[in-house]
Amino acid sequence: MDLKLHVWRQKDASDPGSMVEYQAKDVSPDMSFLEMLDVVNESLVQKGEEPIAFDHDCREGICGACGMMINGVAHGPQRGTTTCQLHMRHFNDGDVVYIEPWRSGAFPVLKDLMVDRGAFDRIIQAGGYISVNTGSAPDANEIPVPKQAADTAFEAAACIGCGACVAQCPNGAAQLFTSAKVSHLGLMPQGQPERWRRVRGMVAQMEEEAFGSCSNHLECEAVCPKEISVDFIARMNRDYIKATFKGDDS
């Protein structure tokens, strides 16, 4: 199939950037979206032009490196799927496809479709960990964990930090990411000692970065490749409100 692409091109962080039109010829339906871009890039290189820069790593949907807005949807039209796992069979011959980078005050565009997601790392540094004195590995099942807590924590821990939630949110808010990270530790016994400090710290850092606030549009949940629920946002709000009434050292 042949596609007409409108791709955001931007030389570097200071370049204003613009949409540029490309033709993607002889695209196989078995290609992934990134492979389709690889083919376009090969033809650009052959013509002596600069290839389109985009982030990717595992290409199997687990690392969270890839991600772009495809026709106005983070990671494209297939639900629960990262861009690298999106296949061209979901497109038709002659389709026009708009490709843009994640846009958020907190995710400055570095080049073309690549953005700096360092803000997520700083949120994790503000409390997305548990402090333990390392020693020999503890025995498995030494600490009992209620089945439901384990399952829910696991659902939250599925977050790969791709940033689709922020990209799709009309406010560029990071509530789904932050709440998943707050919850997957906060639900486990190991996460209890720092539970209140964690939610306070991570929310404070989230707000310091130029993310928006949550208006409960639910856009994030709809595009999350790991289909993480907005229930975690409510849970984070609840923990944050409770934490407000606790001392600084709890």
């Binding site: 843009e100 799709q168 949110c169 928006g212 549009h217 609840r238 944050y240």
Partner: protein, 235 residues
């Protein structure tokens, strides 16, 4: 002290203010619509209020709430001050959050395809502005009477029927209540989420509660001008 300043600055706090004041206003709107149902009950046929409109007696009763502990009109004024504060704080937090949200998406997409947001969720700001204009107009129209053609203090039923017999007035009233219905549909659901009121058993109910209350409030409110225009309710 430092922690208080931090809380005041946080967007999460403003969201809580939004939800709590929204809940207060929602509570008021329910009471308001329930009280106004007296429009459909006509006059007392006997007793000390014989021949008076039930709506007029109810309005007078609002001024006597809390008697004899509170004086004439005191409870009403306490409620009015509370509501005014709620509206002011609600608008203040809406404004502050709008600034935060602009900062969150400084550059718009060329193409956006909404996946889950609703017309209601996307129109909270403009819907809110329509509601604000309406609140001001409504007070000038039926509370102070400044913009009413034939206002008679204390004759609430008369004022309502005369007011709504003007199709323009009724039209604006209906429009504003459609906006209120949308605002409340997203708002009621949203406030559960903002205040962290969720749970496996409760989650499905939240949308149903929001739909039910938004429909009850906006349709009942809209029924009043419709009843006057169609002659179901008349002087």
């Amino acid at each position: 002290m430092q922690w208080m300043i931090e809380i005041y600055r946080s967007a999460m706090f403003k969201k809580v203010v939004m939800a709590v004041t929204g809940l207060m206003l929602f509570g008021f709107v329910i009471g308001h619509v329930a009280g106004n149902l007296k429009i459909y009950q006509g006059k007392y046929v006997d007793g000390i209020h014989q021949g008076e409109y039930k709506l007029d007696v109810y309005a007078e009763g609002l001024r006597e709430l809390g008697a004899p502990v509170l004086g004439h009109g005191q409870a009403l004024w306490i409620a009015r001050i509370g509501l005014l504060l709620a509206v002011a704080l609600h608008i203040w937090s809406a404004y502050q959050l709008t600034l935060v949200n602009r900062r969150g998406r400084p550059q718009a997409y060329q193409k956006v395809t909404p996946q889950a947001s609703t017309y209601a969720s996307r129109t909270m700001r403009w819907g809110g502005v329509i509601i604000l204009f309406f609140i001001v107009y409504h007070i000038l129209h039926l509370t102070t009477g400044s913009v009413h053609q034939s206002f008679e203090a204390g004759q609430v039923f008369h004022n309502v029927v005369r007011g709504f017999s003007n199709p323009l007035v009724s039209g604006f009233y209906i429009l504003a209540n459609l906006a209120l219905g949308l605002h409340l549909y997203h708002g009621i659901w949203s406030l559960f989420q903002s205040l962290g009121l969720n749970g496996q058993r409760f989650n499905d109910l939240r949308h149903k509660i929001a739909v039910a209350f938004a429909l009850i409030i906006s349709l009942t409110n809209i029924s009043f001008p419709v009843a006057v225009l169609t002659g179901v309710v008349h002087l």
